[in-house]
C-alpha cells in the first residue's frame, strides 16, 4: 500500500495522488484536516506495529510499502485553530503528527522523505559545508554580531545579501546604504551575510535517479518574491551539465532524500553555486511552468518502493 499524509489542498500531494491513480494505483490518503479525531497505537521493539483509525477505516502501517509525507504544522489546521492551542483537538493533532513521524523514521518502507533527512536544511551554513564537500561552489559567507565585520565584508565583495540561517523562510535582500543605520541591530542575534552571486537561477528537482532542471529568468535578488520586488519572472525547462546533475543527485542521496529541490545559480563565467537543498519541494510551481511531469516521477518512485538506502 502507498500512503499519502498531508492535506488535499496541498498541490504536490494532490498531483502525486492523481499520478498514482493514472498509473493504476490507489493510494491511501490520510488527510490531516479530517484526521484530528483519529486514534492510533504504536508498539516498538524489534518489530514496529502501528495502527491508525479514522472515520474511513483502519490502516495497519505494516502494509505500507512507500509513503509521501507533506504534513502541515498541526497548529495551522482549521479544527485546531478553532479549538485553540490548549485544546484536546490540538494535543491530539500534535500527538498524531509525532507518532506518524516516529513511524516514518523507523519503517522499512520507502519514505519521501524521512523526517531526519530534513534536518540539515534547518541550518543553512551546516548544509553549505556538505554542499562544498560535494564540489559545489557556495557563496562567501559571514555570520556575525559585529557591524564592523559586515562593513568590511561588504567592502570586500561590494554587493552582499542577508538571509536567515535557519529554515525559517526569509526574503533574500541586498544590504544597501539605506539599511546601514540599522546594522547595529545585528548585535542581538548572529546574522548571515553572503556575497551577492550574479547569474541565472536554476531549480533542479531530484526524484530518485531522475533529474528535472528548470531555469528561472528574473531580475529580482530572490525570484520567489519577484512580484513583490517589481520584477517579472519566467521559468522554462532547461538542461544542465552532466557533472552538475550528478552533484545534485549526490547531494540528495547523501542527505538521505529520495526527492529534493536543489537551488543553483550559474555565474556568467560558468561557475555553479548551490544555495540550498530543499527536502520538501513544492515542485508543482515549476511543473506548471515547464510542463515537466515531476508528479509522475514521484509516483513512479513510490510504486517502485526502491529504498535508496533507507530503511
Amino acid at each position: 500500500m502507498i500512503l499519502l499524509w498531508g492535506i488535499w489542498r496541498d498541490s504536490p500531494i494532490a498531483r502525486v495522488h492523481d499520478a498514482l491513480v493514472r498509473q493504476g494505483h490507489h493510494p491511501r490518503f490520510l488527510d490531516q484536516r479530517t484526521s484530528t479525531g483519529a486514534s492510533a497505537e504504536m508498539c516498538v521493539g524489534r518489530d514496529l506495529v502501528t495502527v491508525v483509525r479514522t472515520d474511513e477505516g483502519v490502516v495497519d502501517l505494516r502494509t505500507v510499502t512507500a509513503t509521501y509525507l507533506r504534513p502541515y504544522d498541526p497548529g495551522r489546521l482549521p479544527a485546531v485553530r478553532r479549538a485553540g492551542p490548549d485544546s484536546q483537538t490540538s494535543r491530539r493533532a500534535l500527538l498524531l503528527e509525532d507518532l506518524l513521524s516516529s513511524w516514518a523514521e523507523l519503517t522499512g518502507a520507502l519514505v519521501i522523505n524521512k523526517p531526519s533527512a530534513n534536518t540539515p536544511n534547518a541550518s543553512k551554513p551546516f548544509q553549505s559545508r556538505q554542499l562544498r564537500d560535494i564540489g559545489f561552489c557556495v557563496p562567501d559567507t559571514i555570520i556575525t554580531t559585529d557591524p564592523e565585520a559586515v562593513i568590511k565584508f561588504r567592502e570586500r565583495h561590494r554587493r552582499i545579501v542577508y538571509k536567515s540561517i535557519s529554515s525559517i523562510r526569509s526574503i533574500v535582500t541586498e544590504l544597501t546604504d539605506q539599511q546601514l543605520p540599522r546594522l547595529g541591530d545585528i548585535c542581538w542575534c548572529p546574522t548571515q551575510f553572503q556575497e551577492l552571486v550574479p547569474g541565472t537561477d536554476y531549480r533542479v528537482h531530484v526524484v530518485g535517479d531522475e533529474i528535472f532542471a528548470s531555469e528561472i529568468s528574473s531580475a529580482a535578488i530572490d525570484y520567489r518574491y519577484s512580484g513583490r520586488q517589481g520584477s517579472d519572472m519566467t521559468i522554462r525547462a532547461a538542461s544542465i551539465p552532466d557533472e552538475i546533475a550528478r552533484r545534485c543527485a549526490v547531494a540528495s542521496r547523501r542527505m538521505g532524500l529520495a526527492v529534493s529541490g536543489v537551488d543553483l545559480r550559474c555565474t556568467p563565467d560558468g561557475k555553479w553555486y548551490c544555495f540550498e537543498v530543499n527536502p520538501s519541494p513544492a515542485f508543482t510551481f515549476y511543473q506548471d511552468a515547464t510542463g515537466q511531469h515531476i508528479d509522475e516521477a514521484v509516483a513512479r518512485l513510490l510504486i517502485s518502493g526502491s529504498a535508496l538506502g533507507q530503511g
Binding site: 483519529a38 486514534s39 492510533a40 497505537e41 504504536m42 508498539c43 516498538v44 521493539g45 524489534r46 514496529l48 484536546q88 494535543r91 491530539r92 500527538l95 498524531l96 509525532d98 507518532l99 516516529s102 523514521e105 523507523l106 531526519s116 534536518t119 540539515p120 536544511n121 534547518a122 541550518s123 543553512k124 551554513p125 551546516f126 548544509q127 553549505s128 559545508r129 562544498r132 557556495v138 562567501d140 559567507t141 559571514i142 555570520i143 556575525t144 554580531t145 559585529d146 557591524p147 565585520a149 536567515s164 540561517i165 535557519s166 529554515s167 525559517i168 548585535c187 542581538w188 542575534c189 548572529p190 546574522t191 548571515q192
Partner: protein, 232 residues
C-alpha cells in the same frame, strides 16, 4: 578552556565548572546577543563571545553541550515578537559553529538538536533491539493513554553513563557494553542509558544525553575526556 553551552537558568552547569583547576566558562544565549561573534564557514577566522568575553577559536579546548536548542524563554532580552525567530536562528547558528570546531565537542550537534542526534524513544528502543539488546517495548497511543507515564522510571532501574570509552554507573559490565554499542550506533561519545535493573540481562528502557554532571564520578570522567584532548 572548556566551554559549557548551557541554559542561563541551569545551575548544575555552574556547579560543574566551579572550583575546578582548569579554565572553564559558560556559554549562554545571553552571549549570542553581544557584539563580537564572527564566523566565516569557509575560513579559520572566527571569534566568539564566551561568558561575556571575546574569545578566539584557538582558545577553546573543548565544548560540553547542555542545551538541546535555543528556546524563546532563554531570550528575555529580546523583544517578545522576535524571540521565536531569534531562537531558531541561534540554534541554526550554533549547530554550524559547533560542528566546525576542531576541538572535542560532547556531543557533535545536529541542526535540530545541539546535544546530538534527536532520537525519539522509539528509535532508541528499535536500534537497541536490532543490536540484540533486550528491550522494554515502547508503546504510545493517540489519544494518550490515561495511565501513560513515559518519563517515570520503574523502581530498581539502573543508569549507565557513557563518556568516550568509559562507562560510569553501578551495573553489570554487560549493560555497559550495550550502552557503548548504542552510543556507537548513534555516533555519540556521551550517553545516558537506562535499564530495568543493574543485573546482567536486564532490559533497556531508553536513552538520552542528560548525564548527571554533578555526580562526582561522571564529572571526573567528563573532565578527563577533555583533558585527553581528543581531536577530530
Amino acid at each position: 578552556m572548556l566551554v559549557v553551552l548551557a541554559s542561563r537558568y541551569d545551575a548544575s552547569c555552574q556547579r560543574f565548572i566551579t572550583g575546578k583547576a582548569a579554565d572553564a566558562r559558560l556559554l549562554t544565549c545571553r552571549d549570542l546577543s553581544v557584539r563580537g561573534w564572527q564566523y566565516d564557514p569557509g575560513s579559520e577566522v572566527r571569534t566568539s563571545v564566551i561568558g561575556g568575553r571575546l574569545t578566539g577559536a584557538d582558545e577553546i579546548d573543548g565544548v560540553l553541550t547542555r542545551l538541546p536548542s535555543v528556546v524563546a524563554s532563554e531570550l528575555a532580552d529580546i523583544v517578545p515578537r522576535d524571540q521565536n525567530y531569534a531562537a531558531a536562528e541561534m540554534t541554526a547558528f550554533l549547530s554550524a559553529w559547533l560542528s566546525d570546531l576542531r576541538c572535542p565537542v560532547l556531543n557533535q550537534p545536529t541542526p535540530v538538536c545541539l546535544m546530538g542526534p534527536n532520537w525519539r524513544k522509539e528509535k532508541w528502543i528499535h536500534t537497541a533491539a536490532k543490536l540484540g539488546i533486550t528491550v522494554v517495548p515502547a508503546r504510545r497511543s493517540v489519544p494518550a493513554a490515561i495511565d501513560a507515564q513515559p518519563h517515570d522510571l520503574p523502581p530498581g532501574s539502573a543508569t549507565v553513563n557513557v563518556i568516550g570509552d568509559l562507562c560510569v554507573g553501578i551495573a553489570d559490565q554487560s549493560l555497559g557494553k550495550s550502552a557503548r554499542a548504542l552510543a556507537e550506533a548513534a555516533g555519540v561519545d556521551l550517553l545516558r542509558a537506562r535499564f530495568t535493573s543493574p543485573a546482567a540481562g536486564s532490559a533497556f528502557l531508553g536513552a538520552d544525553y542528560w548525564v548527571d554532571i554533578n555526580d562526582p564520578e561522571v564529572s571526573e570522567a567528563v573532565w578527563n575526556y577533555f583533558a585527553g584532548g581528543r581531536r577530530r
